[in-house]
Symmetry: C2
DNA sequence: CCACGTATATTCGTTACCGAATATACGTGG
DNA sequence: CCACGTATATTCGGTAACGAATATACGTGG
């Protein structure tokens, strides 16, 4: 259940799931993921795709069923899922669903370093972010609307709904933070101003 | 503002910010980050620390001020921030604050592949996650309480508050998703059950 | 009918990132 | 007083991940 997996790239899990449906060649996997809009939630790079497939093969989770030549296109290798591959897929996906993993978000890093910027600047930059977050929200919503318009069941959109929920939460938080800075209700504002004032003074006197 | 940075690892930004305060040697940077609890929001690995410092030096953002030997400890190299390094720090941090960046969350990938698991199992796994999320929430809250107890100003805890806000949003979403599956209010449940039933049947008939 | 953009399909070289090893000194309990 | 765990401080080697190159065929508008 909690075993350290040999592979870590989520794209490898996507490959296992795709091969669980039916055998495919790598390029078709990529095309399928794109067509279903999954490249929004799973980072898809051709270099990485072929890399993870080689790894999956090395671990015995997938195997080549032979190379074909359809029409006169370049040659291609089709893969299928093995028994252990199916087990790996179920175990890995189950773990990802049931166990939250620690992830390092860039904005979290930025917040933890925010005091390095003067308060006024920080506030203005956060306001800019607010606008960009609204943009992003609109984009996700129109994506959802578009999918609903072609009768795609919500089941296949849950990852987008999740992303939207997180985006909304971030917006709310950023708004509160801006207010906290503006009204100085955020504890530590004095030290923050002071530190930058001292630094400016030190600069001035040489 | 939107320039492609030479360095991308957030730890490099942390180094710039630390050197903005005062010259330091690498190990002291690591110790400082840990002491301030910033390793929660910025991934800190010794291997990466020395790597990014070499890169920062190559780009001219930091420079060695010489190697010292305090007491009889191993030799160490102290670095300081250059002028361009200070500019880089301000530009980079500003960009991170004002511009949301696309990030691929593991759970988003998991949700987009969820239909590969039978609905009942998916629901049970999501319920497990709910419990783990509550645990995580309690941990963050006790961290915040502990920090408040030693009078650390909230300004230095904004990244933790942010993490907590996202965690709460995720909890709410997961709860709603479980309910949607249980009550079959989530659109597409029929196809989901059907696909797995068909598959089981196909297996049975060899 | 042919030039050129796009779709199909994969390989390769580079590097960021990290786990683990290395080396020295300090502290402390037996 | 010495053995062993912990703190100080850095280096090194392996590999996952990827950007970019490669190669072929198809389609289409001029």
């Amino acid at each position: 259940m909690n075993s350290p997996r040999k592979l870590t790239h989520p794209l490898a899990l996507a490959v296992l799931v795709l091969l669980f449906e039916k055998p495919m060649h790598p390029y078709e996997m990529a095309a399928t993921l794109k067509q279903r809009g999954k490249e929004q939630s799973i980072k898809l790079r051709y270099g990485s795709l072929y890399t993870v497939i080689r790894q999956l093969e090395r671990e015995g989770f997938v195997e080549a069923t032979g190379t074909e030549r359809a029409g006169a296109r370049p040659e291609r290798t089709t893969y299928r899922l093995t028994e252990t591959g199916e087990a790996e897929m179920k175990g890995w996906l189950s773990a990802l669903v049931s166990e939250p993993v620690k992830e390092y978000r860039q904005f979290e890093a930025a917040l933890s370093l925010l005091p390095a910027l003067p308060p006024k600047e920080a506030q203005a930059l956060l306001a800019q972010r607010l606008g960009r977050l609204d943009e992003g929200q609109r984009k996700l919503q129109s994506e959802l609307a578009g999918a609903a318009a072609i009768n795609l069941p919500p089941l296949f959109l849950i990852e987008t709904e999740y992303a939207l929920a997180l985006l909304r939460a971030e917006r709310t938080y950023v708004k509160a933070l801006i207010d906290g800075i503006e009204t100085a209700e955020l504890g530590g504002m004095k030290q923050w101003h002071q530190w930058h004032a001292d630094r400016a003074a030190a600069r001035g006197s040489h």
